[in-house]
């Protein structure tokens, strides 16, 4: 494979960051890399808003009698959920790393629809403004799940404003997914067959399928909820002949696949990290790729496991339980394949790999606790308790956020052209790992003991575990602040990065300069080898 990248010392090369200056060049850009940075900035801001709510919640839970008024606490957990799910987790990896990396990874100059990409960011911001205005005007207290009839008839808070924010943000997600699907189908470089795609791309493809097909159902659900709240026609109101459980079916038809929108990109990052830092091709490439798509498909068929205690038919519940076990299999396959990749590899412990280790451990625990919830008789006891909260935080925070941080660190040199300080990064990763487990492991125990979720005050016997959890949360919060600081510092003052500091395989590292020029490549790449070809090739494939 030929690489004709100019020697880095010969003259100043413009890259996507230096190609143009001024706020207009950023706010009206169609360069997928700049759009990714626009998203990175806004998503990080929302993460800290949602995180601030979490801190206040944990402070409240230090004492069994609470600290804040009940209404305040109810708004805190609602807004924490809404912001974290819709404005952080759903867009996070796809809109930042996906946007940045999918074109170079497949050898393309940009995504298929660059202007729609920019539009999708503006739509995201519009949705965010609506959601933030709901907060500023007093908040919402329905829970992020907006269950009727409380949300449609009884709540006195800004439900419609918040629902509109989510509705609008949903279109951003749909457009991003659409863009990815078309790009991956039509814009692969010569020789980049589907079987040679990096698993990062496969993972985002599967994610995009879900984004495109599931999100519209959320849109219509929120639309109906809004109309119901205004017109009171009765679609979810039992006094008028409506069925509140219908809302739950419609809501979870999107929201269950949504959790796969949230985790598949994290798994996509994992494949890249583990292959690179084991210096070995991913074991079972085909199985991992297939598993991503299988998770996407099966994920549409399990929504009823959120309704085991809601009055759903027991036979329907049985079917949903069975398929929920089925969907665990491809996830397990991935974990086993990543572990097997490390066998007889050459493993180094840079920060991205530390996050990968964390992901494997914590996602395994989170995923296994999902089996507890799929087991109907146990779910009856632990649903709507802290067990569920611990489960989803293990997969979302222990899984997804770790993958996100791992990915940010791994591709930081590519994105910024600089290196981050490795010791600080390792320290932060450790603090986050410890803080995370201390926060959420006690919650499994609290859940089985019977502490319900969304409780502003709780029974005395739950006190000690709650204090432990809050202690962990303060460590975790501190841990998240550290990367903010050193990454911001490194962006400006970090040492310049070589072309491929990790000696990784992949078009984005080997054939695209660091940082990339606006159109990603100096010469159009032609692909002649499979993905992760660490063992093959007669000559060293990276420069520097």
């Amino acid at each position: 494979m030929s690489t004709t990248l100019p020697h880095p010392d010969l003259g100043v090369q413009t890259n996507y960051l230096t190609a143009d200056y001024g706020w207009k060049s950023w706010l009206f850009t169609t360069d997928h890399k700049r759009i990714a940075l626009l998203y990175l900035f806004s998503i990080t801001a929302f993460f800290f808003v949602g995180g601030a709510f979490a801190v206040m919640m944990r402070i409240n839970l230090l004492s069994p009698n609470g600290v804040f008024a009940h209404d305040t606490y109810n708004k805190l957990f609602t807004m924490h959920g809404v912001i974290m799910v819709f404005f952080f987790l759903v867009p996070s990896i796809p809109a930042t790393l996906g946007n940045f990396l999918i074109p170079p990874m497949i050898g393309a100059r940009d995504l298929a629809f660059p202007r729609i990409n920019l539009l999708s960011w503006y739509i995201y911001i519009a949705g965010g403004v609506l959601a933030l205005s709901a907060i500023v005007r007093g908040g919402v207290d329905t829970g992020w799940t907006f269950y009727a009839p409380f949300s449609s008839t009884y709540s006195n808070t800004h439900v419609i404003l918040a629902a509109m924010g989510v509705f609008v943000a949903g279109f951003s997600s749909i457009l991003t997914g659409l863009n990815f699907i078309i790009t991956i189908h039509t814009m692969r470089a010569p020789g980049m067959y589907w079987s040679r795609l990096p698993l990062f791309v496969w993972g985002h493809y599967a994610t995009a399928l879900i984004q495109v097909l599931a999100t519209p159902v959320l849109a219509i659900t929120l639309f109906l909820l809004g109309l119901e709240r205004v017109l009171h026609t009765g679609i979810f109101d039992p006094n008028l002949g409506g069925d509140p459980v219908l809302f739950q079916h419609l809501f979870w038809f999107y929201s269950h696949p949504a959790v796969y929108i949230m985790i598949l990109p994290g798994m996509a990052v994992m494949s890249e990290l583990i292959a690179c830092f084991s210096r070995k091709a991913i074991f079972g490439y085909g199985f991992v790729a297939f598993s991503s798509v299988a998770i996407a498909v099966l994920g549409f068929l399990v929504w009823g496991h959120h309704l085991f205690v809601a009055g759903q038919s027991m036979y329907a519940s049985m079917v949903f339980s069975f398929i929920s076990f089925l969907v665990a299999v491809p996830s397990a396959i991935k974990v086993f394949n990543w572990t097997a990749t490390m066998y007889q590899g050459s493993i180094s412990y840079e920060t991205p790999m530390l996050y990968a280790f964390g992901f494997i451990g914590l996602f395994t625990i989170g995923g296994l606790t999902g089996l507890f919830l799929a087991t109907m008789a146990i779910d009856v006891h632990v649903t709507d308790t802290y067990f569920v909260i611990a489960h989803f935080h293990y997969v979302m925070v222990g899984g997804m956020v770790m993958a996100y941080l791992g990915g940010i660190h791994f591709w930081f040199p590519k994105i910024s052209g600089r290196l981050y300080p490795e010791s600080w990064a390792k320290f932060a990763a450790l603090v986050i790992f410890v803080g995370f487990n201390l926060t959420f492991f006690p919650q499994f125990i609290l859940g089985y003991l019977g502490m319900p979720r969304r409780y502003a005050t709780y029974a005395e016997e739950f006190h000690v575990l709650n204090v432990m959890s809050t202690a962990g949360a303060s460590i975790l919060g501190f841990g998240y602040l550290i990367p903010m600081i050193y990454l911001a510092w490194a962006w400006r003052y970090g040492p310049k990065s070589p072309q491929n500091p990790w000696h990784a395989k992949g078009l984005e590292w080997e054939q695209s300069p660091t940082p990339p020029p606006t159109f990603n490549f100096i010469e159009p790449p032609i692909v002649t080898e499979p993905a992760y070809n660490y063992a093959g090739s007669d000559k060293e494939a990276s420069l520097g």
Binding site: P103, A108, R109, D110, L111, A112, F113, P114, I174, L178, I181, I182, T183, H185, T186, M187, V212, L213, A214, T215, P216, V217, A219, I220, T221, F223, L224, L227, L231, H232, T233, G234, I235, N239, L240, G241, G242, D243, L246, L250, F253, F519, P524
Partner: protein
């Protein structure tokens, strides 16, 4: 380097990130079909709610069926199918590079769409006069079905209203096409927007093909 030479040979409508017009057209077409898939899911949620309530309240449904104006609905169906025909012919005209027929056919499509929306307005007005619009002014003669009827009428308005909204958007898009065509933007070599918006228009038509029998025909006794 080679880029500048290639630029001379690149057609003006070829965007910078595509290798050739074939790839660009493939991307546009696949993109529009993917978007239409999302629309199917969007409408699907409401069709689902409608089906559930219709089977739960079949008595009320039969009662409300008599108030569906099958005449207007039927004429509208014919109008919309014709507009799909004129749209398809417009795409054909674009394919053949025939500017005048293209513009006339697009205008005809727009007019037929306008007729549809006008008749819909008449229908909605009829419902308004009969106090069948859900909300504070709602009244239903058969008192025992009042709540259920309101729910069913709500679904009627929500589904046909969402459809009408899509038609209005479509009308706006067709207007844009007319302006673009008048300014000679299309040729036999490139007419992608006409093609894509044509697909969208056909989709809106198909949604109506489902709405009409479900809302108007089934259960209608008059």
């Amino acid at each position: 380097m080679a880029e500048s030479d290639v630029a001379l040979q690149r057609p003006s409508e070829l965007r910078h990130h595509f290798d050739d017009v074939v790839q660009q057209r493939e991307a546009s077409t696949l993109g529009m079909w993917a978007f239409l898939a999302t629309e199917v899911l969007f409408f699907g949620g409401m069709f689902c709610a409608y089906t559930i309530y219709r089977s739960a309240y079949h008595g009320a449904f039969e009662s409300t069926s008599q108030f569906m104006n099958v005449t207007i609905g039927g004429i509208n169906t014919g109008v919309l199918i014709c507009s799909s025909l004129t749209m398809a012919l417009a795409v054909r005209a674009a394919q053949l590079g025939q500017k005048k027929p293209l513009i006339w056919l697009l205008i005809l499509t727009l007019v037929l769409g306008g007729v549809f929306l006008g008749l819909k307005g008449v229908e909605y007005h009829e419902k308004y006069v009969e106090h069948h619009v859900p909300g504070p002014g709602f009244r239903y003669a058969e008192a025992q079905y009042a709540h259920q009827a309101e729910l069913l009428f709500f679904l009627y308005f929500a589904m046909t209203g969402l459809h009408a909204l899509h038609m209005i958007v479509g009308a706006g898009l067709i207007t844009t096409l007319i302006v673009m065509a008048a300014r000679n933007r299309f040729s036999a070599g490139w007419y992608t927007p006409v093609d894509m918006i044509g697909l969208y228009w056909h989709f809106v038509d198909i949604v109506w093909i489902f709405l009409f029998p479900l809302l108007y025909l089934i259960g209608h006794t008059k």
